[in-house]
């Protein structure tokens, strides 16, 4: 178990390094050099050269990549070309917002999705079951952008139930949550459907499994069978999906953060790329990928905990 976890984490780190390196090279390929982006129109060749040198952009690519990785290790993500502040600080402002959003979304998705799914599975083919089936598919189909914009249009701009924009970070927990409701739903709603369906499917499968029949044969109470034997196995795929899903959710988060003007990695990313503020965009992707990798790693390890066979099949 420990070995597996270590291995899994090692892999995660390796992937992160690869991801960052390839991205660094990609960004460097952008038209117009960061030096002039940094200096803006004022860039005289002399000044440019100075900056280029300062940023080590004149070095061969492998060296650059290596240096960047090293400095990342030291927690130095470079300097925001626009605001002249350390990128790390900028990330410190934005990452928590995004994590809040993702966390809340996953929560929404899981708290609604898993019960719906299990009930649908237990009441298989009932009207409820069919309704849930149709509903989940529909919500999966609707892109987060649209949900966000309409949510904005109706609940914020229209009814004014919830704040239109921002994260309310300066006004304590309540306002934070208040600002979180709409975005979290916009990101999470599709996943409610996903998870409901997934749990239903695997639940049905598990409930027909031999060992469940055996548990019944030993006269165990249904509730114990469902929670202790069935659900436990049935949620395993859900965890994996959420792990991977974090990536997709982050995509939705970009739109949601834009539409609701929430500070966050997505929004930060968007601005940075737009201004070719490459240390920031790098930092942002680093953060995003980091989150994603951590998520998948955790989900794998969790899976291994829930169902040890996963260790063999899992990779």
């Amino acid at each position: 178990m420990l070995v597996y976890s270590l291995k899994r984490i090692g892999l995660g780190i390796l992937v992160l390094i690869l991801a960052i390196s390839s991205l660094y090279m990609l960004i460097q390929a952008a038209p117009g050099d960061p030096a002039s982006a940094m200096l803006g129109p004022r860039a005289t060749p002399a000044l440019k050269a100075a900056i280029t040198e300062k940023l080590g952009l004149d070095q061969p690519m492998p060296v650059q990549v290596f240096n960047y990785l090293i400095s990342v290790l030291q927690g130095d993500l470079g300097t925001d070309l626009k605001s002249k502040q350390p990128v790390l600080n900028t990330l410190k402002i934005h990452l928590p917002r995004t994590l809040e959003l993702l966390g809340a979304s996953v929560l929404v998705a899981a708290l609604i999705g898993i019960p719906l799914g299990s009930i649908a599975a237990v009441r298989r083919n009932s009207l409820f079951d069919r309704a849930i089936g149709l509903l989940s598919v529909s919500v999966i189909a609707v892109p987060a952008v649209i949900i966000a914009i309409f949510g904005m249009l109706i609940f914020a701009a229209g009814l004014g139930w919830v704040p239109a924009i921002g994260a309310g970070e300066d006004e304590g927990l309540l306002s934070l949550l208040h600002h979180l409701i709409l975005p979290a739903i916009a990101v999470g709603i599709g996943w409610v459907g996903y998870i409901a369906r997934l749990v239903r499917a695997s639940m049905i499968e598990v409930l027909s499994a031999n060992y469940v029949r055996n548990a019944r044969a030993f006269g165990l109470p249904e509730r114990r069978i469902i929670y202790r034997y069935a659900l436990r196995i049935a949620v395993a795929p859900t965890i994996t999906v959420i792990g991977i899903g974090v990536g997709v959710m982050m995509g939705s988060a970009v739109f949601v953060e834009i539409v609701f003007a929430r500070p966050g990695i997505g929004k930060l990313m968007y601005e940075a790329v737009l201004l070719r503020n490459y240390p920031v965009s790098l930092g942002a992707v680093l953060a995003a990928s980091g989150v994603l990798i951590v998520a998948t790693t955790i989900s794998d390890i969790l899976n291994a905990l829930i169902d040890p066979r996963f260790m063999e099949s899992g990779e």
């Binding site: 117009g32 982006a37 803006g40 860039a43 502040q85 704040p163 924009i165 994260a167 070719r276």
Partner: protein
Amino acid sequence: MFHSKIGKLSKSYQRAARTVAVASCVWATGLVGASAETLRIAVPSDPGYLDPAYWGSTVDQFLIDNLYPRLAKYAPGDEWTIELDAAKSVDLSDPQHIKFELKPGIMWTGGYGELTAEDVEFSLERHLDPDLESGVVTEFELLEDVEVTGTYTGIIHLSEPSTTFWTSTLVYTSGAIISKKAAEEAGGYFEATPVATTGPYKLGTFEPGNKLVLELNPDWTGEPVDFDQIVLLPIGDENAAELAFAAGEIDYTRSSAGNYDTLVANPPEGAVVKLAQTIDPLFLGISQTNEKLSDIKVRRAIQLALDIPTVIQATTSGYGKQATGFVAEGLVGHRDGEALTRDLDKARDLLAEAGAEGLTVRLDYVNNTERDTAAQIMQANLAEAGITLELNGQDEGTFWSLDEIRAADLQLHLKAWTGNPDGYYTMQYFVEDQIGYWNWEGYASDDYVALLHEARITVDDTARGEIYKKMQAMLEDSGSFVFVSQEPTVILHRDTLEPGILPDGRPVFHAFRKVK
């Protein structure tokens, strides 16, 4: 001049991306329910450089104008009028030697003592120091030296008599005075963190991308202000700013004139909606240095093929007026009623003559709502004349950064600069050695240079105005310039306050008043 462009740059920057824009509202939210003493203003972006030698964006300009003293400043109001600031008196009788006397008792923040003539000397002469690489050095070409005749008195000596130095430099942003002591302590070079300032407000907390807070300056002895805190919230896009305003997140913002009608028809609660004419020229540059466009016939054809009134109609709902040149209406040197008119047939003929049928050119512009709208219309216009226009909406950084490669590759570029009441300010940049820097059109003419020189030393406004008209005509006839408009802008503020703004809507912080 580039700073102006940069100024404009950041103006466009403000529209850069809806995201940047809306995104910026964020801090706004942060401040919902903040004390009534707080004034929340939407600005296009974060400040970059707060050193008068390097200022770039509109926000840099706001802050430098508001934080640093100058001998005199343009006053808030509907007219462009100059009022004394740090100076008790200025003697302009001799346009080559400007005498001034400072008000005593203006204290620098951070305990850097009193504002003296030495500070003025230092502040102006440092631009001439090559090591400083001042971004605005061109504006100081005429400056010989500043002679300090007493603690508060001094004389500014120019190599030639000039009125433009006063109107477009000393009282304008670049004329800002900083504390010699403080600057020298900072090694003469400081970027985003201003050394000592004066005035009712001083810089408070700064969270990039989130907010910048100005707080009361305890050392301020001048007349009191109504707001004890000013929060600048970076919102790039007017539509976003509008949204933030409607959501009650900000108290003052500019917005797109295109939205004026809807704003009037359905104004956000407790909003006052005004329309302001800026003096910021929006124009289309056509690079004659590019071989596709080297033939003047082709350039003229493009000029004639464009339907500028429609562009203005679309982007400003008709509140904009087609520009006749760089100088805005009502200012010295404005050309009346000589705007380009569309003539498709002539355009086609010219193309035929030049044998340039089926021409394909690229239009660079900053990718934002208004520019995009304009660009798409131009695309349609030129299509009718048989010219294919590739739209190349770029992000702020890419558009304004001009490395050698791109300089060589410039074709058509739609851009706006921040204007100055004196047209000289803008036009001084279309000279040969600015090619590859700010003269993207690649325009070069000795006659023009001659006129430029003449204008600089012409003291009489009407006479100077005539020269400006000639210059603008030359620029237009070169086929490299299509003057679109002096962009109008919508001003949006709470009815609980009376904004203090320059005629073009740029805020003068200390002049904001609460409505009693």
